[in-house]
Assembly symmetry: D2
Homo-oligomer: 401 residues x 4
Amino acid sequence: MDYVYGPGRNHLFVPGPVNIPEPVIRAMNRNNEDYRSPAIPAMTKTLLEDVKKIFKTTTGTPFMIPTTGTGAWESALTNTLSPGDRIVSFLIGQFSLLWIDQQQRLKFNVDVVESDWGQGANLDILAEKLAADHTHTIKAICIVHNETATGVTNNLSRVRKLLDHYGHPALLLVDGVSSICALDFRMDEWGVDVALTGSQKALSLPTGIGLVCASAKALEASKSAKSVRVFFDWNDYLKFYKLGTFWPYTPSIQLLYGLRAALDLIFEEGLDNVISRHSRLGKATRLAVEAWGLKNCTQKEEWFSDTVTAVLVPPYIDSTEIVRSAWKRYNLSLGLGLNKVAGKVFRIGHLGNLNELQLLGCLAGVEMILKDVGYPVKLGSGVAAACAYLQNNIPMIPSRI
Amino acid sequence: MDYVYGPGRNHLFVPGPVNIPEPVIRAMNRNNEDYRSPAIPAMTKTLLEDVKKIFKTTTGTPFMIPTTGTGAWESALTNTLSPGDRIVSFLIGQFSLLWIDQQQRLKFNVDVVESDWGQGANLDILAEKLAADHTHTIKAICIVHNETATGVTNNLSRVRKLLDHYGHPALLLVDGVSSICALDFRMDEWGVDVALTGSQKALSLPTGIGLVCASAKALEASKSAKSVRVFFDWNDYLKFYKLGTFWPYTPSIQLLYGLRAALDLIFEEGLDNVISRHSRLGKATRLAVEAWGLKNCTQKEEWFSDTVTAVLVPPYIDSTEIVRSAWKRYNLSLGLGLNKVAGKVFRIGHLGNLNELQLLGCLAGVEMILKDVGYPVKLGSGVAAACAYLQNNIPMIPSRI
Amino acid sequence: MDYVYGPGRNHLFVPGPVNIPEPVIRAMNRNNEDYRSPAIPAMTKTLLEDVKKIFKTTTGTPFMIPTTGTGAWESALTNTLSPGDRIVSFLIGQFSLLWIDQQQRLKFNVDVVESDWGQGANLDILAEKLAADHTHTIKAICIVHNETATGVTNNLSRVRKLLDHYGHPALLLVDGVSSICALDFRMDEWGVDVALTGSQKALSLPTGIGLVCASAKALEASKSAKSVRVFFDWNDYLKFYKLGTFWPYTPSIQLLYGLRAALDLIFEEGLDNVISRHSRLGKATRLAVEAWGLKNCTQKEEWFSDTVTAVLVPPYIDSTEIVRSAWKRYNLSLGLGLNKVAGKVFRIGHLGNLNELQLLGCLAGVEMILKDVGYPVKLGSGVAAACAYLQNNIPMIPSRI
Amino acid sequence: MDYVYGPGRNHLFVPGPVNIPEPVIRAMNRNNEDYRSPAIPAMTKTLLEDVKKIFKTTTGTPFMIPTTGTGAWESALTNTLSPGDRIVSFLIGQFSLLWIDQQQRLKFNVDVVESDWGQGANLDILAEKLAADHTHTIKAICIVHNETATGVTNNLSRVRKLLDHYGHPALLLVDGVSSICALDFRMDEWGVDVALTGSQKALSLPTGIGLVCASAKALEASKSAKSVRVFFDWNDYLKFYKLGTFWPYTPSIQLLYGLRAALDLIFEEGLDNVISRHSRLGKATRLAVEAWGLKNCTQKEEWFSDTVTAVLVPPYIDSTEIVRSAWKRYNLSLGLGLNKVAGKVFRIGHLGNLNELQLLGCLAGVEMILKDVGYPVKLGSGVAAACAYLQNNIPMIPSRI
């Protein structure tokens, strides 16, 4: 039943889908249930309350849609905008590119602000556009919090400040797919109108729930948004929320129980501790990359991502070979370079339910692979650099003190 | 972790989500994997080939979309039709009603043919409409194969014959949600252009895959269909099919392995034997209903459904009370009456991976509940009627002879 | 991976191993752990406390030995007795026979009191023996609480009364394999010195833990008992109990978590409610047997067992054929007749985590099988009789009211 | 349900119970079954055949006893020997000590040959004893193949040669608990009479099966062995082998399916490849220890163990602190020093279903812990040494080439 079995654990370091904790796998190990019985609504109610916490919102309205991140994007856009609406959108890597492609196909008027892959969103241009937009033709700003293809984290707080500075009413729509529940994300404080993520990312579940959270302003906008939508229509959910049955169509029973378990683990660890752990793993990875003498695809420290690191390889090496070798020889799954950076970078995902020793095993593996493909790495160098930092910073496990 | 635990097995007799076989639960009991590694495409390829078999098509193109039945509907419609297109659609119960609602909200011009709930689609009216439609304004016929709310199975073969008789080019779009893999369904033979089902129905998986299969004619139609679509766009899938990587966005690893196991079980039993088993269970249920002196919501034998039986209760009984009591006292999950038949019918789902003794336990439970709510049933009568039929018709389990 | 797959659930009605509840299967779905870490002793401590509750003892000392019921027997005997010691032991069926065989092979002087298979232990003879034993040559009374082969429950309270009446100091060793946690069992009240059961019986776990509970008097006896023992030696456990590490050798991590979950479910339902449920299922089964016109192997009502019913078949039927047909045609697992009653009885186990509708499915199946093998049963008759009783006696599920 | 949850995977590096592969966890995720149905004997038959392969015997008779290693020891001894029989037994660490304790309590006349902990069995003394034993008073040689407490592997081939050289008929009883299925073990070639292991060791299952394999000579010896035994009696098994039902008492259904899956994985990898993998992991661990400037508890290279490495710490460090810190801060489970070497060594288990990157994560963790406890380790040094060796020696994963 495994198509290509290898001994020992698979070391899963793609930036999603990520490792599922054992307690979550256990919670999902169950038969179907009638979702119209009182049991599922009772649980759903707790989920909706708790999902708000990971978005850091008290005023937002969450939707748990049986879809992927791509569907969550579509839900965010079609519920708040009308065809022809002007959107400012930032192209900084493969996933922002795909979102922009979707925006265009959904018939919005997309004002693309492009950066080099490896740079963050150009917020100076955003400032200019906002300044110039006296008539408020811009209906929404679409931005990925963390570009998974290049390991770039954008400064959302500054986006909010710019909007406020110019008193601009545009909606702020944020792709938090590889950030929410791993990076510091503050929906209410940053005035995000729609934020979204996928269950298979930092929540450490299987793929299958697109989590979308809408501000009051976004809900208001949905009343007049003319984009055609049915499956992704928030209104169908809101109707069932009022009835207390919650589901306009059949949810995955297993994923609901899985989400319940995943949230329980996150709250047991503490959301801020989860974020600190990601910060630790990100920093350790970057120290290793530096020790190897390799460059981070991310061009400035301010954009460094704590959930994924895209590593640039020297021109004489094909990064695809690294990913292939990792899987074929070491049972290690790394992320490919995508599109513009194909062959040029490989990616180490360090998000989700992951600890330091897992990462160190991965880093040791990367060192051997680098040697395999002819890069003159000093074996142990990256691990040593990471360990030197980690040994001073890993906290005790609270439940074990 | 169970919100409302009761001793023993839950007896799950809603018409979806249905019981998952243990081998399928086992197959899904796994960590995530990198879906871009060679393993997942290798498995996906076998799935796409095998999914065609359950649609009984050799020429169709299947799509396994991370969505529910509602999403599968949307995929069928938006890929083949343009806003304003005229559709003939049959309203015979809650699920056809919901599909029609979707069709209208997607801006099609829906020509609704309504029947009493409990009757099948009025194909005489279809004949009239086709006869009258010399200019071929009808672009598609939308029909549910099996209306889950009333337990009515429509005669698809006759729909095809009518289309052929009038030489009408309309697309034939079929909701096979509660039929495919349980009832006799023949995509190629009946010239169905788009057929669809959901993983949580006869395939006996969790919710999460909308399986959609398109004929060559449907694929051709998708090239000019102007409905806006991105997440549900077949074209994105086709692009990745060509690349051999298969997935435009992240699938659920667990559901893929689950589907692999589910198909293996179905083929081990034999698809035709699976269908015979459903026919046996449907017949047995109807014999029990008759023995109880109750009426089937389905008004004529030609429409009797082998996957769900909606049972009419006398006016002095609220069928909702039956469903509630089943769950609260007997750990039995029955289907509610929906919308027009709320309070008037309760439903026994008999689809998916289910055997005769499971059904008999359910029927015995229903007898006790009927007595609980004041209906003068003769205890044992339904079970006796069902057993008399089953005892003569259950085959030996092939692997155990 | 299933050697002989059949569609739907297997209906497991052998009197052990019994159905495992889903939450328990989930709890065991885990990797190994270091049993010397602080986690396992912490859990073990709660288990030992809670296991005492199912024996209804506050003063006993429990042992959770990685073995089967056969090993638990050996543990009970070798820790309390010396070779040559006189034991009074009751032979009333296959399992008491096997225990007696073990007693003899362990070199005890076994004074066997035999009854017809289908009768309980002859306590009148016990009374005589106790009366005659002025010098207290009898060191122990060995008795099964419930003989699984014939469905006979012995009156332990009367055994205690006899011992007390004669002021006899013999140890009272009780096989509670198919009783404890299902029948009314009171270790302290009845002055039982060693009681034992297996995890795969009423606790509804996999095989693998022999649960043995020793009174203070039994522990005292163990100090002078000369039977050679190492693996089964209580003293090794007691040593590690004192250290707080609890395990003299490696336990099954999975079974410990499973036992934790199993006990949680039992306490959630309430042990007395669990016992009432068994009483209900036993009674319902006997009513069905009566309605079929068949005889219970158990000859008097006072011995009727609420965990297993052995059904006598007419001489012209081979009961083995019934069991075979059940499995081959109906995916139903019934118990064979063993040894003296082979071919003459089949057994319906109704113990463990089981509810009424499961049992009714089984009873309906048995009716069809009886017809298959040529017995002129009135189909529905047994189910009707059982339902008539159950419908008046099944309580609401407390968590669902 | 986890008593002391920590984020990420637990890194399990105790020398048993070891990591269970996901496919094996999956295979065990199931309900109970009737073990008297034809299915379980059919599977058992394949297991008995395949278990012989991991012992490298074609003539031996295997027993899969529901017990632990301690029980397997008892089975080996009591089936082949009589009280008072002279045994030569080697005391070289905690587990050989415990076995000797058992031998003494089972009333054998144990001739103990003691070595320093860290040395192998003193075979020179064995030679002397054999040479002197003209009357063949020595009935058995008992020896651990691999002493788990000190990481010492004994030379079994030399033991056989000595026996042959002196034409001595003593039985050769081998504890292969931490060797079989991981180290090179050859039952037939080395003339081993009883070999045994536990399921939770190299087979990578939960605890619960004691696997014992008896040579024809051992079976012959069992006919006259006078040790009292019932639960562990081979004869009961042999009786049921002949009947084709295989089980004298209830086995764990889950462990049987688990063993089936475990053997399938081992044969897919190839037993010799499994052994090579262990050799690789052992060598890598020793290179790391050397790089850290620490000593192996094992005093000579000829005794180095490829399944467990006991590392001596400097006198100013308490090795218990290392194990505690590993668990409390790094979610890493290491083995404690036991008895004579308590506080002086910690152990790294590297057996079972484990790959190189898992080990490297552990080694990186150990480096940080060493620093935590004040040992001046050069971070990265051990990992570098291990990687330098591994990078040249890890083969491609055959299924992925």
